[in-house]
């Protein structure tokens, strides 16, 4: 009897000790989560209802910040800009990255060199990318007009013309598809060989097996890349901050640039928080809708 109780005590003690160890080891995250995730989120909800320039005392303004975020011309324009950019850039990016991934799973030589080369643009620090691309688009001395000139296209004022600025940013985003491509390559490698062979024996051509086997099997990854790309595209702003500062005529004033300016240049902390929540709700909403619609086109192996 005595031995049994003692071993029971020992087990309880060991379990209690593991609990303590669990909290201690997870401690950094628990502290970090409350200090830098949970608290800031609650704090920014409070901020939304205040007017505060960080110098004086915050004053309660009710729904004024939210109203302004929903009606202000520049706020709406920036939402439109980000949505325009996202809706046009993402589908092209997916087509380009998928096509490159397909090409790199064919029996061509130097595949790892191509892969590294396509991947390179996204590891370049974003500031360097912006500095270089600002000059790529330069009307007189830029490489883009030079190359287009070879094909007889007259020089364009890419970043200076209101109707060309957003297309220029979309065009630039086609270079940033390395991550999507690597994910697609990994996925294509996982398609069972037997499936392709069976299709071939049944007399299906390359194109038919692409549309009837490869693409359906890749829909989960296409969906995944699409969700991530949309979330990221809605948040781009560093290139526009450096290359155009939102111009010309606010055509490249994206949402995050507007938030950054209101927060850190005009010190409207309350209004900036309202704008940030607006963006957050839109992005989350977009994501939820995509998951909802995904049942119709994404193929999940049961």
């Amino acid at each position: 009897m005595a031995i049994v109780t003692r071993s029971k005590e020992r087990i309880t003690w060991m379990r209690a000790r593991e609990w303590i160890e669990g909290y201690l080891f997870a401690g950094p995250f628990l502290v970090g989560f409350f200090a830098f995730v949970a608290f800031p989120m609650l704090f920014s909800i409070w901020l939304m209802f205040q007017k505060w320039d960080l110098l004086g005392e915050p004053t309660f303004v009710g729904l004024r910040n939210i109203e302004r975020a929903l009606t202000d011309e520049l706020a709406l324009k920036s939402l439109y800009n980000s949505a325009f950019y996202t809706i046009l850039a993402v589908p092209f990016q997916l087509v380009i990255s998928f096509t490159l991934a397909l090409a790199l799973t064919q029996a061509i030589k130097f595949r790892s060199i191509y892969r590294a080369g396509f991947y390179l643009p996204i590891i370049i620090p974003v500031v360097a990318t912006a500095v270089v691309w600002q000059r790529v688009f330069h009307p007189d001395f830029g490489i883009l007009n030079e190359v287009l000139g070879i094909f007889g296209v007259p020089p364009q004022k890419w970043l200076l013309e209101p109707h060309l600025a957003k297309p220029a940013f979309i065009f630039m985003s086609f270079w940033m598809i390395g991550r999507q491509m690597v994910i697609f390559i990994a996925g294509l490698g996982n398609i069972p060989v037997q499936l392709m062979e069976a299709a071939q024996i049944d007399g299906a051509g390359k194109l038919r097996s692409l549309f009837n086997i490869t693409i359906p099997l890749m829909t989960p990854l296409i969906f995944y890349n699409m969700v991530i790309a949309i979330i990221n595209s809605f948040q781009t702003f560093v290139p526009s901050l450096i290359m155009t500062d939102g111009g010309p005529q606010n055509e490249t004033a994206f949402v995050v640039l507007n938030i950054y300016r209101n927060g850190f240049q005009f010190f409207n902390m309350g209004y900036a928080s309202a704008l940030a929540w607006e963006l957050f709700i839109i992005v989350v909403g977009f994501t939820i809708v995509q998951f909802y619609v995904s049942n119709r086109w994404v193929y999940y192996e049961s």
């Binding site: 080891f25 996204i122 370049i124 620090p125 360097a128 500095v131 030079e146 991550r179 940030a276 957050f280």
Partner: protein
């Protein structure tokens, strides 16, 4: 008759197969050529940057374009690096990156250990919160966190331990608190694949959990540590928004901020210097990319995240 038929069919089949083989080969050659053009297109801006960084002023603005500088102007680099204190920016950048990487590895491995090996109440709840944090856009917490760090006094000039600028703390401290859910997740997955018997033996021998983590688990986890180190270094090196908000005063600037300042000044002027500075900023990531490509291709393929 039948044998004859067979031979004829057989020969037909061979002919068809060799025709298909020729089509396949031609197609592969065409594809190879197309891909080479695409590769040149992808590398174009970068190659143009490097080539222009060595051009003379007259060549930069020459029409038609000079593709390869006649006389490489290596002096552009020294001139660019001394225009602003880039050596100081490099020291700052590497200090921030190294502190970030060390903090990330230590804290994330501890947290990953707690999530993969220890049983404690609330574990599953906190793990789902961790995964939720992964999806949280940076922008939502940007403003409240700035106010928080400002209240802590970390946005003021000054130093900690006499050397480290206070301004570095907002960039580094979150990583010492494992606020890098992706890396925790990666490490947890890896730790789960390590046989538990090793630990049990060590526990019986009287080792404590910290000893187990640092003497048994981590030495077996070199691949995942390398992946996390590469990702977190690049992320910290490439970051622009956080340094922009927190680093006050040119003495505290990183390379990214220095390059941006130079860009603002040189809007119309000395492009060759700007390209030289951009090339210098690119070199560290390029070296990492060349030597550690394996780790991040693996990392991205398995997690779908990483890089920027």
């Amino acid at each position: 008759m039948t044998t004859l038929d067979h031979t004829a069919i057989h020969q037909q089949a061979i002919a068809r197969r060799s025709r298909q083989e020729t089509i396949r080969r031609t197609w592969l050659i065409i594809l190879q050529i197309i891909m080479t053009f695409v590769l040149i297109t992808f590398l174009g801006p970068t190659l143009w940057m490097v080539s222009s960084s060595l051009k003379a002023r007259t060549e930069i603005f020459a029409i038609p374009m000079v593709w390869i500088p006649e006389n490489p102007q290596w002096g552009n680099y020294t001139q660019a690096m001394t225009m602003l204190p880039f050596a100081k920016f490099a020291i700052n950048t590497f200090a921030i990156c190294i502190l970030t990487v060390i903090g990330t590895i230590i804290s994330c491995s501890m947290v990953a250990y707690a999530f993969s090996r220890l049983k404690w109440p609330g574990r599953d709840l906190f793990f789902s919160l961790l995964l939720g944090t992964m999806m949280l856009p940076e922008i939502v917490t940007l403003i409240p966190m700035f106010i928080e760090f400002r209240t802590l006094g970390w946005t003021k000039p000054g130093t900690v331990f006499g050397v480290l600028p206070l301004n570095f703390l907002p960039l580094v401290v979150p990583y010492w608190l494992a606020l890098a859910p992706l890396y925790v997740f990666l490490m947890r997955q890896f730790f789960k694949s390590i046989p538990i018997e090793l630990e049990e033996a060590a526990l019986i021998d009287g080792a404590n959990r910290l000893q187990i983590l640092f003497r048994i688990i981590l030495p077996l986890s070199k691949p995942v540590i390398a992946t996390v180190a590469v990702f977190s270094f690049l992320q910290s090196y490439n970051d622009f928004l956080q340094p922009l908000i927190y680093l006050n005063g040119q003495d505290n600037w990183t390379l990214a901020l220095g390059l941006r300042a130079m860009n603002d000044v040189q809007q119309t002027g000395q492009w060759e210097l700007l390209f030289a500075a951009s090339t210098v900023v690119l070199i560290p990531v390029l070296l990492i990319f060349i030597f550690a490509q394996r780790y991040f291709v693996q990392g991205i393929a398995t997690t779908g995240f990483g890089g920027r």
